[in-house]
């Protein structure tokens, strides 16, 4: 390989590291292929049958609808709270990512309890003389609840990008006489387009992987078909899962072709991002943001709070005692915090080399690694858990090393949620101006020192946002935690599940509120405080 080729494809060391990482991230895909082979799953036979076409169509149409609305809502929210004089911006920025942390099985149930006939909101409204009969179910219900819970996948990366955009281009446009809406359309949107697309892709993939919300809304998707056939018809479940993965792969490839982003930048980082004045749009904007927060965070919190307070009041009146004690809650809270922060850190460290290779070089290895990681996000968590268990059992060495340890658990989390970090980190890597980098090289600064002194400080907000996304998702993760954590390891999510399964709603409500509080603190620390230190 000559020098020019190296420059194009990237240093051999980096390529090797990325190849290794790509292999680790392919464990679930390899598992599915292998098991289809051994269990006689036959995806080819299923394709074209109604058994697959109906749920497939329902999955895809739901995912498209949710993608469209989350893209619009997430981008609008990011713009309003980061680039305008919207009152209460600092508070909105802490509150807006919260929906990400509701485990869908209880979040959607709480949403239903508030919004559906006879629910809390209905009762409040009927006190005011307003009768509503909207029932959240089917396509409409699944679409609403997934939009409200998933917009942060778009909002968080777009907000991070908006805070990073240097003011110079927008200032120039303004000097050239463009009005604000022209600037947004012609200058800002093109710069954030790739981030919106990456976030929306995650929403699409999450939607086809989701089970909790669609089953509570009684909407029959491909993921639900997989779940219902797991015990009764394992080969069908495996074949359906492989089809899900292939669908995800196709979508990822499609996205890569059509939003072929130029991941290098020569922009100079000059000045703080431009702030726009909302003027007469101030009140509609407040109304819009409030409505989203009220529906996405307020509605579930109302039901959770109701369950929790009923439980607490009940015990003071000498009713049936709560089945959880302080010690258990403290232990699970600590476990939730520590394991998710570790997973966030490891995910960032694992994704960073891949993002470097993809953003700075034209490497086929980089492309493949990127696609595998993103597509894996479409797989339901239980498949990741089973795949991880399967592979550690293939080798005595791996079994002795990682079985029953937090290492395996964190590994599985990173495989499940690495995709969330990818988009944000790509943008962060690309945001380091080539000029600055070259200047460092000319000045004779060594490679690693260059990384620490030039790249890292500029990337920090993006990396923090990436870690934040992984942390918030890990905190609520359920099937992986249940199946491959060390014995006796519990998190808030596993305890919420345990309580909620048997309708101990008071206990579940209390712990869900703690989960929300914990996530808000972490969001504030990672996403807000770090980012404002720019």
């Amino acid at each position: 390989m000559n020098k020019a080729e190296t420059k194009q494809r990237g240093p051999a060391g980096l390529q090797l590291v990325v190849l290794g990482l790509a292999f680790l991230f392919s464990f679930p895909a390899l598992y599915l292929i292998w098991r289809n082979f051994t269990e006689g799953g036959n995806p080819a036979e299923l394709i074209g049958t109604r058994r697959i076409l109906d749920p497939l169509w329902r999955s895809v149409s739901l995912a498209l609808a949710v993608s469209a609305t989350t893209a619009a809502i997430g981008t609008a929210l990011a713009w309003l709270t980061n680039r305008t004089d919207l009152p209460g911006n600092r508070i909105w920025r802490v509150v807006l990512p919260i929906p990400l942390v509701f485990p869908t099985f209880i979040g959607a149930a709480a949403f239903i309890r508030t919004m559906n006939p006879g629910g809390l909101a209905n009762r409040m409204l009927s006190e005011l003389g307003i009768e509503t009969v909207i029932e959240m179910r089917g396509f409409f219900g699944a679409w609403s609840v997934l939009t409200l819970f998933c917009y942060p996948y778009v909002y968080l990366p777009v907000a991070a990008r908006l805070r990073q955009l240097p003011s110079s281009l927008e200032e120039n446009a303004r000097v050239l006489g463009q009005n604000p809406s022209q600037i947004i359309l012609r200058v800002v949107l093109p710069q954030i387009g790739s981030v919106i697309a990456a976030g929306t892709l995650l929403v699409f993939l999450y939607t086809i992987s989701d089970f909790g919300a669609v089953q509570l809304m009684r909407y029959d998707t491909l993921a639900r078909s997989i779940f219902t056939s797991q015990l009764a018809d394992q080969s069908v479940a495996l074949a359906l899962s492989l089809i899900l993965l292939l669908l995800a792969g196709a979508i990822v490839a499609f996205e890569r072709i059509f939003s072929r982003v130029k991941f290098t930048t020569d922009e100079a980082l000059v000045g703080k991002p431009v702030q726009y004045s909302l003027g007469r749009w101030r009140f509609p904007a407040i109304g819009f943001v409030s409505l989203i927060v009220l529906l996405s965070t307020g509605a579930p919190l109302l039901a959770l709070g109701d369950w929790a307070t009923d439980g607490l009041i009940r015990t003071t009146r000498g009713g049936y005692p709560l089945t959880i004690d302080k010690e258990q809650v403290w232990e699970s809270t600590w476990n939730t915090f520590s394991i998710s922060v570790l997973a966030g850190l490891v995910a960032v460290i694992a994704i960073l080399p891949i993002a470097f290779l993809v953003a700075r070089y034209k490497s086929r290895i980089g492309s493949v690694a990127h696609s595998v990681i993103i597509a894996t996000f479409a797989l339901p968590g239980i498949l990741i858990a089973l795949a991880m268990r399967f592979w550690t059992l293939r080798s005595d060495w791996a079994y002795d090393l990682v079985n029953n340890t937090e290492v395996l658990l964190i590994f599985a989390y990173v495989v499940r949620f690495g995709s969330l970090a990818m988009g944000v980190i790509l943008v962060a890597v690309a945001a380091v101006p080539k000029r600055l980098h070259d200047a460092g090289k000319i000045l004779g600064v060594r490679k690693f020192s260059r990384f620490a002194r030039i790249d890292l400080p500029i990337m920090t907000p993006g990396l923090a946002a990436a870690a934040g996304l992984v942390i918030l998702s890990t905190m609520k993760e359920l099937p992986i935690t249940l199946l491959i954590s060390p014995l006796g390891f519990s998190t808030l999510a596993t305890r919420i599940f345990s309580s909620f399964e048997d309708a101990f709603v008071a206990e579940a409500g209390i712990m869900a509120l703690i989960l929300v509080a914990l996530s808000s603190v972490l969001t504030w620390f990672l996403v807000i405080r770090k980012a404002d230190h720019l």
Partner: protein, 354 residues
Amino acid sequence: MRLRILLSTLATALILSSCGSDPESLDGRAAEIYPGTCADGNGRSVTIYSGRTENLILPVLEAFGCETGTDVQVRWGASTDLALLINEEGDRTQADVFLSRSPGPVGYLESNDLLGTISSDVLSLVDEQNHSAAGTWIGFSGRKRVMVYNIDEYSPADLPDSVFDLTAEEFRNKVALPGTNGSFIDWFTVFMDQHGKDVATQWLNDMVDNGARYYPNNRSIVEATGRGEISMGLVNHYYNYQEQAASGNDHRAENYDFNNEDIGSLLIITAATILDSSTNVEASEDLLEYLLSAPVQQYFTDRTFEYPLAAGVIPNDALPELTALEIGSVNFDELGGGFEEASRIIEASGILNR
């Protein structure tokens, strides 16, 4: 630098949290089962994969560990997921004992030859119909199928004697069925066995034609009935007690018991098994015996509102009267692929899209 401090704090905390000291005696609900001081370690250990949730069964396992000195380790989860995990782990599974909410996942493990045989001493603790003839599983508590209904819309006098009457015009669009729920599928499996596959399938199709609505599980039906979103639904009996305990008078639903001879009043048992690969068979059998001991059976009926299965323990008065028809009595072993077939028929009925 800050990162390093954070990491080392995390590492220390992980180490600290992994070691705890054994309590001298128990408190809370576990002490109701065993109030004495804890025995010294007996050098034995047992690892349980439990599909029964922590809230219901942890006190029992704590009491077992304390009273016998056995080291007890648990993995909690949904019964279906745990069964899949055990199947994936094969003979390298950590699990000695698998506790299932319902017989379906047990049948799955049995058909994959993963279950060992329980000794006849333990099997004899329950009636013959409550363990498998081959001795691969034993029931340790029961839940009854009932119909939960909204008390503002219906009074018990207006409700039918049999599930067969629910296909009548007056119940159009009124009834919820938890089509994908394990207990429901088990129930339907027995329904097919008792009345014949054609009758059961016909009933389900008639229910679909009559506007029956699908909900994913018992809890969501009980909750929706309490709000009046749906009028009634077929569920396990004990969810309503928890909803009432949490929401009090806001929860507008009660259980209704069909005629005792009706298939709608079936008792479904929770099952314990010992894995074939277990190397802790003695401790495992001790645990199964303990689950069927008088204090534990008393706990199940008093605290978790379930039916005791061991001889001599009287059910809580709050529970509906027990019927003769129990799931074991129809010989679940001979149902063979019944669970799979029931799942397919339920899916084909179209209920899951209602």
